[in-house]
């Protein structure tokens, strides 16, 4: 029986382009356009983007990074450019998400180094980049300016704007044509409010990706899931202020009790599984970019996404 998978929804998710190839004025080997869904994810093999993108997260100052990942990735962690190359060539990620954790150091002021890091990562990988800028409001302005400028033309995704601090990121996005991650604390109304704030300052809809904030599975993920579901339903029902693609990072999964307390042999496996299931659930809820930190999570997610597509098709679900 024919079944309308668009129900009576009229809205669609806006398109956001990430990364620019040479022809588009950048240096990336690929450019992704996410969004344009008119229904829930995985209902049809033909709808929306092919599969959620998987972004591998790296950082330029690994002191604050999960010891588990530091151990697994070894020396790479101390060479952010090589780590970025590995993300692309060895781990098979779709994107690289660079956290500028060096800016977290007390009284950090070496803004020029930020530009150098961004440039070195851009030349180490040809994948589109997500950059997480400073964590300190005092240096936001300089850090985001530098990130935006160093990667002009590359169509970065810049993070992370929050209701209380979004101006610097918005300014960098506007000045150098990048897109913005807009994060709200698991709350549909705050998500909408932030999008409106960004709109008022001049950031266009097709330059915004919503981060609804992802709790670890079993540690609040159900709230994230519910917020994401509502954001997506509102978008499909025509609320254009919420009709943006979503991004989720399951980074919290690496610090939960089950991972911390697992015996040394099983620790990696526990972390991978937890990261996998959280990321997978986020994808089902509609996230189009899933960020992971453990390299081994990547092939698992890829296989799972593929089976969801093919599974749906072969089972004859419309």
């Amino acid at each position: 029986m024919a079944f309308d998978i668009n129900f009576d929804w009229t809205g669609s998710i806006s398109e956001v382009t990430l990364g620019a190839t040479k022809a588009q004025g950048g240096t990336r080997s690929v450019s992704y356009t996410i969004g344009r869904d008119t229904t829930l994810p995985f209902l049809s093999p033909d709808s929306g983007t092919p599969s959620p993108l998987i972004a591998f997260e790296i950082c330029d100052y690994p002191v604050y990074w999960s010891p588990l990942i530091r151990k697994y990735c070894g020396d790479l962690c101390d060479h952010v450019d090589q780590w970025a190359t590995a993300a692309e060539k060895t781990y098979g990620a779709d994107m690289v998400r660079l956290h500028l954790t060096s800016t977290k150091q007390r009284n950090f002021s070496d803004i020029a180094s930020v530009g150098k890091t961004v440039e070195s990562v851009l030349s180490a990988t040809s994948l589109p980049l997500i950059i997480e800028g400073s964590n300190e409001p005092k240096i936001d302005s300089e850090v985001f300016q530098k990130c935006g400028e160093s990667a002009q033309g590359e169509r970065l995704l810049l993070g992370t704007a929050e209701a209380s601090r979004y101006r610097s990121i918005a300014a960098a996005a506007l000045a150098y044509n990048h897109s913005v991650i807009a994060q709200s604390p698991i709350d549909i109304n705050l998500a909408k409010q932030l999008n409106i704030l960004l709109k008022e300052i001049g950031v266009q809809r097709d330059h915004i990706v919503i981060d609804p904030y992802t709790g670890a599975l079993g540690y609040g993920f159900e709230y994230s899931y519910s917020a994401m579901e509502r954001i997506r339903f509102s978008a499909l029902k025509g609320d254009t202020d919420l009709a943006m693609p979503m991004i989720c990072s399951s980074a919290d999964t690496l610090t939960i009790k089950e991972v911390r307390e697992a015996d040394e042999k099983g620790q990696d496996e526990m972390a991978i599984k937890w990261e996998f299931y959280t990321g997978f659930a986020a994808a089902v809820a509609g996230s189009e970019i899933i960020c992971v930190r453990h390299p081994e999570t990547i092939p698992m997610l890829k296989a799972a996404f593929a089976s969801l597509r093919n599974g749906a098709k072969s089972a004859g679900v419309p």
């Binding site: 302005s141 300014a171 000045a175 549909i188 008022e200 001049g202 509102s234 609320d239």
Partner: protein, 676 residues
Amino acid sequence: MTDVSQAKKTGEDRLKATISSITHTFTYEETAYHLPISYALTGIPVHDQKAALDVFAKTGSNPLVASECILADRTATNGKDDAPFTGFISDTVIRKLGYSLVDGSILGLALIVGTPKSADRASAICRELQEKYMLTFLAGGVVPSLSGAGVKLGLDYRLIPLGSTPAYGIHFVDIIARVAMMFGGVTPGDIHRLLTYAAERAKAIVIVFPGLSDEEIALVDGMRVLGFPILSLDDYTGGEWIAEKPESVVRTGMDLKGIRVNVTAIPIPMGCSPAFEGKSIRKEEMYVEFGGGRSPAFELLRMQPVDAIEDGKVTVIGPEIDSMKEGSANPLAIIIDVAGKTMKKDYEPVLERRIHNFVNYGEGSWHVAQRDLIWVRISKEVVAKGIKIEHIGKLLASKFRMDFPQLLDAVAVTLITDPDKVLAAKKEAETVYEERDARIKGMRDADINTYYSCTLCQTFAPNHVCVITPERPALCGAISWLDGKIAFEMSPSGANQPIEKGSVINELTGEYEGVNRFVKKASHGEIERCALYSVMEYPMTCCGCFEAIALMLPEVNGIMVVNREFKGITPSGMTFSTLAGTIGGGAQTPGFAGISKYYILSDKFLQGEGGIERLVWMPAQLREELRPRLIKKLEEWGHPDLFDKIADESNAATIEDLIAYLESVHHPARSMKPLM
């Protein structure tokens, strides 16, 4: 003295003659916007005389276009000015400048042209501009004057010397034209959007010292079309320039463009952010409380003349928190005095409603309801950190200034905790509330095509939509139709939006096609239909803030009303709080409606159910509160004897009692069309 309008005329003629004599071709390097002003206005890239004259003609002989072309031609002939002058500024630098503007690290732009009579004057003005986060461009004699006085120039000092003569001031305009195209989404050739952007978004002022040629006067005067105030010091009369004194010129200019230095941090010992808004403070966590029926409390925001208020002043009258007993209920008056050039008396109730949000922003302060129904709690946790009543005042004063920078110039807060003084002030507040209610009296829903929505409560009831009409205030009782209209004027993308009511679906129940469409959208598709005057069919959704609940009692074929203050069990078998828990959260519950108390006196109340004759029960206290007004209304409606037939808890505590009572008084509801 130079007569501006005279000089401008001569200047314009000379500009016209000069632009016709351009001979060279010219190109600025490091820009994708050609001659930016000409390009933004017409979309035509100008590089020679032919194109220059074309654009000049197309823009009605605009002096800015002429000045831009002439300077470009001159630069091509004579080369750039030497350092420190920047001349034409590259796109890369403009991106950085635009970044700082969006980012908020620069609040606005200023241009200073001409030659000051003394270097001290110029340097004082520049210092003030620097202190107020303005980025200043300089052209003409002011530059050597400042360098001579030892003032450091350059981008790092936010003082940029454009060129040796005031004619270089044109670069100030080409910068703004490029910012509009890069950041404002203005497409080249879209004059209308460019002018709107310049007038509304570009926060720019121009300060003029003496010594301008006629052409330069024409150029500066041409900037008025962009909405920049032209402030002159010495030597100029006539025209539309604003004569100013050196000591006040910066303030006047910034005021005229609404550029304000913002407060960013609130100096109190607890967190303050919208993130805390949804929390609650339970009885066990609370240190003290105010109002909520346990002690007298109210809030009032009123407008005052600007000189009557000291901005930021917080006064506490009565005992501070450290002399209050833990767990006790205390009297409280929150009185906020505000002043502002654009503030209107009509805005008072709308701003007053924000007290609710702001108090809830505090990590350990909690607020519900409004007017003289407020209920405020402060947690043990923050009292241990040193929070005092005074800090709540500081929080309110800062938040009002931060959130309404355009509207309010000064905010002072008085908090009264002395019992007698609270009661005295409350009387005064009640008259104000009555005046506000009276203002909307006499307006009829039928005469008006635009209603207003309120979705303030969507923070905790995500699909709730209040539809506010002249005869049906918001269910919290705090926002009337007029308030909705004003709130929309003040913040066009806020929680109060206009609703075109559209064609009538059912006049009796108050169902309109336009209202339905709006409600469906604003409730994220959850609610399809909304009948404004009905309890039974498609009633409005309820958030949780309703002053009272109207609900159907099938046993007596009537409708009862219970208000928030009533603590007992109603004939429905439930208390107010149980009922509120059942119907709140943004749901539509046929048979139940959240209403304001004032709505009971509206002609529209219960219209869908056949009128006021349906009203069978309400708490004695509410009945007394409404007595004089309700009796008058009942007479108007032709039921002079109905008031005494409405039962209360004294004569009908249970549904059985109510059936018997209504029987004994021959209440008209019994013989009306069955509700179900």
